[in-house]
């Protein structure tokens, strides 16, 4: 007969409540793991979506995500003519506050030339951008439905398509628009300011500036070799997609990643202490029963099994509750909670190890209980 299960059945309500409480704590820890993973996923979402092999940016910078980068728009033609380059597209990036039907939203605006690299790889609903200006494709995270109008700067844009899961490294949803629209938005001065600039002969006319050129290479082309070729131009720098990804994860979101990672470790440590205390309390509640078991001759393995099985059951049920809570609530989180089977499995192992370690103190205490403690009133 299984003493651990019998004891749990006997105090089922208390066990369920304990599991629920522990499940909530584990749900927080699991969410942190998901948010940690989400930061990395979000950081890479844009670069992966653009499927770029090479990022050509302003010389001396590591743009466009880690540092500001501005290069003339005609550089795109130069890059397109580099040996090994199959296609090249100019893009602009800008974070903006926009007026949406539901209120002010914060978005990352990407300008690109339809038909060239730089646009979303998959359209979830509606269509991609065509030749018409003042159209946008918005990510679902922005809350903009098809047909909605977005006021951005001095212009109104209509949502003709939506994407899913495309956010910037800061978690802001992406808005795709024509390069010309984005250049106007980003570089065109307001009428009064433009007049002053023209009067002072400080420019204000051309807006053909972009933040980066992304290039797709022929399958047999070596990205490093093409990058080296691009570097020969003095006013350009080039990063392979791998370098850009490393830059995004190791530099751009590094602080957030480390912060979340450390917080996750602290949470796991707190969880471990709480689990150990719960198991200890559960064991000490059975002091007389364990003493009786020893007195009637129960071997140590029976006592250890009782404590260990309850610890693992507690951890297991609480973890199942935690997974259910997180997966049912993950869409409510403002940022991506990236949890897949691998993360869930690794956390399950972590919880099992915590339960095993947490039960060691209780097992030691249980084995120290003297049989004579069963005697007397």
């Amino acid at each position: 007969m299984n003493l651990a299960l019998a004891d749990i059945r006997h105090k089922l309500g208390r066990f369920v409540l304990t599991c629920l409480g522990l499940g909530l704590l584990m749900a927080v820890a699991l969410s942190m793991v998901g948010i940690y993973q989400g930061v990395v996923t979000e950081a890479l979402a844009l670069s992966r979506s653009l499927r770029a092999d090479l990022w050509v940016v302003e010389s001396g910078t590591r743009g466009p995500f880690a540092e500001a980068s501005r290069i003339p728009g005609d550089v795109r033609e130069m890059v397109a003519r580099l040996p090994g380059v199959a296609a090249a597209g100019a893009i602009t990036l800008r974070t903006a506050e926009a007026q949406a039907p539901q209120g002010t939203i914060r978005v990352q605006v990407i300008g690109y030339e339809p038909g060239r690299p730089g646009g979303p790889s998959v359209i979830a609903t509606g269509r991609g951008l065509g030749g018409t200006r003042f159209e946008i494709v918005a990510d679902a995270r922005s809350g903009l439905p098809l047909g909605a109008t977005l006021l951005l700067g001095r212009y109104r844009y209509h949502v003709v398509g939506t994407t899913r899961g495309l956010v910037a490294s800061g978690g802001d949803p992406l808005i795709f628009m024509q390069l010309r629209d984005s250049q106007d938005l980003q570089f065109r001065l307001a009428p009064a300011a433009a007049r002053r600039a023209i009067a002072a002969s400080t420019g204000g006319g051309s807006t053909d500036t972009v933040n980066a050129i992304i290039a797709r290479l022929h399958p047999d082309a070596d990205p490093a070799l093409v990058a080296e070729t691009a570097l020969r131009w003095k006013h350009l720098a080039a990063l392979t997609d791998q370098e850009q990804s490393d830059l995004l994860t190791l530099s751009v979101v590094n602080r957030a990643r480390v912060q979340l990672g450390m917080f996750t470790v602290v949470l796991l440590f707190v969880s471990a202490v709480i689990i150990a205390l719960i198991i200890y309390t559960m064991t000490m509640d059975k002091l007389r029963e364990i003493a009786t078991l020893k007195l009637i001759g129960a071997p140590d393995r029976t006592i250890i099994g009782l404590v260990l099985q309850q610890a693992l059951l507690l951890g297991g049920v609480a973890y199942v509750a935690a997974v259910a809570i997180v997966f049912s609530a993950r869409d409510v989180f403002p940022r991506t909670v990236a949890l897949g089977p691998a993360e869930v499995a690794v956390m399950a192992v972590v919880v099992a190890v915590i339960c095993l370690l947490g039960s060691l103190v209780s097992i030691r205490a249980a084995l120290r209980i003297e049989p004579q403690q069963a005697l007397g009133g």
Partner: protein
């Protein structure tokens, strides 16, 4: 059985050492034979519980010799490698407050003692059920301890003590929580078991109402046997 099932010779127990040493038992000699029910009485601190703990092998004597079922268990040191196995196989315990496991029903509380000994659960439950019937609590086999009356719980505890057919049964105030009538019933039951199973039963008690149920009364005072009194004919 050639000799007594419980044999205590010059048994001593001292707690602590040096000036703070407390001698709980001094040169105690006691024998309990098969089928014999012996009562152990004495004021608080006289050493009754200590003697019971030593015979139960849950405390180690300081000097003397202890034999269970003819086998020397302690003489200078433990002579048996697995004391819990010895308790499981040869000694049954009955407690003042029954000490049934609250998370097992009556029949599983009894069967547990057998399953600990490696007997499969079905066989253990069959024997436990038969024993509960014998002790007239068979109808309460599926009841949890919290649902049993004091008398019923004590009978289940007796069944648990008997289920492995131990040679020795040690009882610590088994009737303390029972009224006079139920106390006598329990004692009669123990006498019956002693006769039928040829077990040696040693009972610690203060309950004068049941003194006449013992074959012998042993009185302890200040850690020594003060008096041995055979049952009046």
């Amino acid at each position: 059985m050639a000799g007594p099932l419980v044999q205590v010779e010059k048994l001593c127990k001292t707690f602590g050492a040096g000036e703070t040493a407390v001698r709980a038992l001094a040169d105690v000699d006691l024998q309990v034979g098969a089928g014999e029910v012996v009562g152990l009485k004495g004021p608080s601190g006289s050493g009754k519980s200590t003697l019971l703990n030593l015979i139960a092998c849950i405390q180690e004597p300081t000097a003397g010799k202890l034999s269970i079922g003819g086998e020397t268990v302690w003489e200078g040191h433990w002579r048996v490698p697995d004391l819990r196995r010895l308790r499981r196989e040869r000694i049954g315990f009955i407690f003042q407050f029954h000490n049934l496991l609250p998370f097992l029903n009556a029949i599983d509380n009894v069967a547990l003692a057998m399953t600990l000994d490696g007997v499969d659960r079905t066989t253990a439950r069959q024997r436990a059920g038969a024993l509960l019937d014998y002790l007239q609590v068979g109808k309460r086999a599926s009841a949890m301890p919290s649902r049993l009356s004091g008398g019923e719980a004590q009978r289940v505890a007796i069944a648990r003590a008997l289920v492995n057919r131990p040679q020795v049964i040690l009882a610590d105030e088994p009737t303390a929580a029972l009224d006079s009538e139920r106390a006598r019933v329990v004692m009669d039951l123990l006498r019956q078991v002693a006769r039928e199973q040829q077990a040696a039963i040693l009972v610690v008690t203060h309950d004068e109402k049941i003194f006449d149920r013992f074959d012998r009364m042993v009185a302890l005072r200040d850690g020594r046997i003060e008096q041995e009194q055979p049952r009046a004919a």
